[in-house]
Symmetry: C2
Subunit: 329 residues, 2 copies
């Protein structure tokens, strides 16, 4: 008999979808990164939920406070990617009975820190006992239905862009899980990408307000996987001409004789936005991001052929999917 | 160093509260059963989150489908108690890698069944890997801020009432956890109270629409605990003249030489509403409930003395708090 491990996360979602009645008038497709409920006045409540399981998701060296803050960041990031400002966070917390009060205080500080950093508030939650620490977070925001930037909506000829460079988290996981070493002066900064990630909330809201993006996703499952998700949702392919590899990743790769492109493509838990923009709106998108202190990075274009290709020095190579599946990772 | 087990659920909530900035203009106090965000037009988004942890919350004999349905019921119940109709449910699910696809199908069926039963929809969720099955559910509804029935608001002289009789779940837990036996013809019905509970959503909405209740709570932590929570929130006491003991509980108690009153007071996971009504509105409250097929059960009155007293055959006895604490249970 097949198991969750056999069908993977997507298989489980497909099973769920087969059994449920879709809510009429949902402002965003079921497959997207967030859920939304129409308020009937042009606005929607937008929600996201993401779970952090201590034993599988929290790497060594991460503090309680950092983990709690990260639980907020990963939930806020999905709203940001849709152009929605998260106003509230709630946490459903499972704790072992013997966790210290000090640890609980640190978790509380992390929630507060994460929420306030993006202008949101912790509005409550629930507490339960379990063997492992589990933080099931929910981010909530209200936005105009028409302004939501979906996963679908990209058009052939659109510019493919990101809000930042990739590869730091992949390098960090190499250090934390496989014993790789970073050049001395880079170690802290690389590990910081995992311990203290940042969500691109202001950036997503700026893109939505400018009406400048045709589709968007956050890169929490890795850049390659994000490209596949965007491609599948919009029914197009991508031709990548410039892999957005971070300086840290380049130097880490050189130091360890690794492929820097693979670090950029297959990291995960990076919360940059990956989005498409029509060529006519590129200037506006660039300006919108600049106003919130972010540089738009062009990495390629959307193509009719439904493949994801990296072109370098005149050679075209398909980008493999890779990326993270909770059940197959 | 003190632990979560030492300070209990309430201690943990107090720690959280000390560290967070309250959201301005929240339509319902932090201490209440649900969370709410003002929509700025007189309405509020109302949310509740409750977690079901398989190893601690799911008794033997309960199916996947029943557990998933119950996860919806327990979340919808809190909204119902505030007079809010839940329109959506989302589940954040943690599953062991080796859980069968068939079990996942049954979970999906249970979510759908629970949501549709109350007119709501499953709108999505997230899936993660963990050692235990964990269902972190979220119920969402939209309601007029002014119609929310809070925990606070009861007045001295108000009638104390419930939507049903208590004790079936306590009897069921005696059977499941302590090996007690029920009279043959009652066993299935008693166990059904735990396997297939019902939320009083229509009843809560009816009370809110009639503007007939001054305060309300669901009895998921047991009747006694609910009385203490209402008492604390409104700053008053209760004089109980009629314990709402179910027929099943009476016969189970007789069969096993147990105190039927204790079964009614200290069960938990019963989802009746416990609420207060001003004497002038009692008729309206009764009518409102009758229209949705429910009988209002008067059990006592709100008093100035902040004690919770049971008066029987002319003898007054304080009701002990008891009830369920996830960390002290």
């Amino acid at each position: 008999m097949s198991s969750a491990g056999d069908v993977g996360e997507r298989g489980i979602i497909e099973i769920m979808l087969r059994h449920i009645t879709p809510m009429p008038g949902m402002p965003i497709p079921f497959w997207d990164d967030v859920m939304a409920i129409s308020l009937g006045d042009g606005r929607a409540v937008v929600l996201n939920t993401d779970m952090l399981v201590w034993s599988t998701d929290v790497p060594r060296g991460m503090t309680y406070r950092q983990a709690a803050r990260k639980a907020v960041v990963m939930n806020f990031s999905d709203l940001g990617a849709k152009g929605v400002r998260p106003t509230a966070f709630l946490s459903n917390l499972a704790l072992p009975r013997d966790i210290t009060v000090e640890a609980v205080e640190e978790l509380a500080r992390g929630f507060e820190e994460g929420a306030r950093e993006y202008g949101g508030y912790v509005i409550g939650g629930d507490t339960n006992e379990a063997a492992d620490i589990i933080i099931s977070g929910v981010a909530i925001g209200v936005a105009d239905e028409g302004a939501l930037i979906k996963r679908e909506g990209g058009k052939v000829g659109d510019v493919l862009a990101t809000t930042g460079y990739f590869g730091d988290t992949a390098a960090a996981f190499k250090m934390l899980l496989e014993g790789y070493e970073a050049p001395k002066e880079l170690g802290e900064s690389i590990l910081g990408s995992v311990y203290a990630p940042r969500a691109r909330v202001e950036e997503g809201v700026a893109l939505a307000e400018a009406g400048a993006a045709t589709s968007s996703i956050d890169s929490s499952d890795g850049l390659a996987r994000s490209l596949y998700d965007l491609s599948r949702s919009s029914g197009l392919g991508f031709r990548i001409t410039q892999l957005p590899i971070s300086q840290n990743a380049r130097r880490f790769a050189e130091h360890n004789d690794l492929d820097p492109g693979a670090l950029a493509l297959y990291g995960g838990e990076e919360y940059e936005l990956v989005f498409t923009v029509s060529p006519e709106k590129l200037g506006e998108a660039r300006d919108a991001l600049r106003k919130v202190g972010c540089t738009l990075i062009e990495i390629g274009e959307a193509t009719e052929e439904k493949e994801i290709i990296h072109v370098e020095d005149g050679v075209s190579r398909p980008i493999e999917k890779g990326g993270w599946d909770h059940f197959k990772g």
